[in-house]
Amino acid sequence: MSTVLIVTEIQNGSLREACYEVASLAQQIAAATGGSVKSLVMGQGVAALADEFSKKGGGDVFLAEGDALANHNAEAESKAIVAAVEASGADLVLIPSTPSGWDTAPRAAAALDAGFVSECFDISAEGGSITYKRRVFNGKLEATISASCDKVVASVQTGATTPFEGSSEGSVRKLDVSIGDLGTKFVEVKQAESKGVDLSKADVIVSGGRGVGTPEKFLEVIQPLADALGGAMGASRPVVDAGWLPHEYQVGSSGQVVQPKLYIACGISGAIQHLVGMKTSNYIIAINKDPDAPIFEVANLGVVADLLEIVPALTEALTAAKG
């Protein structure tokens, strides 16, 4: 009998969609174990959101309000989560794995002396025990995890489940959290400066990863293919980290999220952060030497070969075909 506590997150004045995705999982687990779903809403002046969530999957909502919770603050949120677990009797805490979630969740888990499972794409409660599934080795392998403790905190991969669309019954109750002195202070959010490269407008994007090998090869091999297709060049994170291309070329969760008509991924392994940035492209072609590269899981068409052989030949053939 699991009491599941959903830890929510507010962004731009409303609850993030990820909260409803987590609610789907929470409701399934509660149903399977004959338990219940409760939630924690944190912020300043957010009683209406708490009320809404109690009816849309959150069940009984604990509302923690205060200046310290008005913006993201891992220390303050962690204290609120501990208070909510105590008040709700929860044994499973689910939190969306967003930049705020991954900042707070492990801290809260340690404060609760709980087991912690990070970025699950599935949690199942069949046969009386709960198992968690997540990816390891940058997306290459899947791990199935079990816990042997009283309490578990699990963060949930965004987009891994569909948002809850049902209803729930619950009341909102005020949660008193003694925050005390904090050594963490939120200052501001700086939006990304929009620079030259806007990949969102390109019909075709040809992206290169570590497999391209050198910055020179980006200009010699990747750019010409992009040009032949009238498209734009993009890059995976490791390429930008290595300083081969500036950040504005980065496709991924912390770069640009794109949906072109055609996305060609060259020498890109397919770590989750990259996939999040391009997997809704209309058509995906992947070229990679490694047949087990996770990129092939989202690609429509794949080539297992050396991109340095295939790409120049493809560019030449396209140029010839255009006449």
Partner: protein, 260 residues
């Protein structure tokens, strides 16, 4: 100022990942290891602070004998001292167990700053850093892409979605879990590698840290039951053949999409 840098030694990013006999991890016997990429940026950040004439940097890592190589590399890059927690009793620790070990080291050392990577390239949990901060009751931040210190405060830009940055101020002592690309990581110079041989290198056991019975497999709250390649569902149609044949297939598909 004293800076602690936590390093993890992980399988090389191009290492072959074969599943081990009981299906709970990969085979580690015949592969290369390297310092976790995220931790290299953490070490570099600490060394830059040291270069500015302001700090002593010690590196810590947990694991078997092979971990010594990672620590010596770090010493070669410029760290002053290394601590290797080398004890079979630590095997099978979950993230919380690892954090407890690092916390015990930190309590002996009292660093002003702790740098480590956001996550490890193998486990990808991104858990140990925030847990360590909680156990030490110090503030922390994660995914730092910029770090500035002044007068007992550390201001960090942390990476959030879409290229935006959240700015956070932490009072020292604090812990910063860094994102890749925070800086450009240096190579160990030959001079540095030679000097490393004379730098202090302490080996500690779980008992030395007062943690007997509190870490390792027995104390772990979560464990991996099974690890396996993902099921190949409806994945890509794979084009095979000679380069010419493959290219012809690609051109044909591109034409079909109306993009030629």
């Amino acid at each position: 100022m004293k800076i602690m840098v936590c390093l993890k030694q992980v399988p090389h990013q191009d290492a072959r990942l074969d599943i081990n006999a009981d299906g709970t991890w990969i085979q580690e016997d015949n592969i290369k290891f390297e310092i976790n990429s995220y931790d290299t940026y953490a070490l570099e950040e600490a060394l830059r602070t040291k270069d500015a004439g302001e700090a002593d940097v010690f590196v810590v890592s947990i694991g078997p004998d092979r971990v010594g190589q990672a620590l010596r590399t770090a010493l070669g890059m410029g760290a002053d001292r290394a601590i290797h927690v080398n004890d079979d009793e630590a095997n099978g620790s979950d993230s919380l167990g690892l954090a407890k070990i690092l916390a015990a080291v930190a309590k002996q050392e009292n660093p002003d700053l702790i740098f480590m990577g956001l996550m490890s390239d193998d486990d990808n949990s991104a858990a140990v850093a925030p847990m360590l901060a909680q156990l030490l009751d110090i503030p922390h931040t994660t995914a730092a892409v910029k770090v500035e210190r002044s007068n007992g405060t550390v201001t960090c830009d942390r990476e959030i979605e879409g290229g935006a940055h959240e700015v956070v101020e932490l009072t020292a002592p604090c812990l910063i879990a860094v994102q890749t690309g925070l800086n450009q990581v240096r190579y160990a110079s030959l001079k540095g590698i030679m000097a490393a041989k004379k730098k202090p290198f302490d080996v500690k056991s779980v008992a030395d840290l007062g943690l007997s019975g509190q870490v390792g497999t027995g104390a772990a709250k979560v464990k991996i039951d099974r690890i396996a390649p993902p099921l190949k569902g409806d994945t890509a149609e794979i084009l095979s053949g000679s380069t010419a044949e493959v290219v012809a297939g690609l051109v044909s598909k591109i034409k079909e999409l109306g993009l030629l």
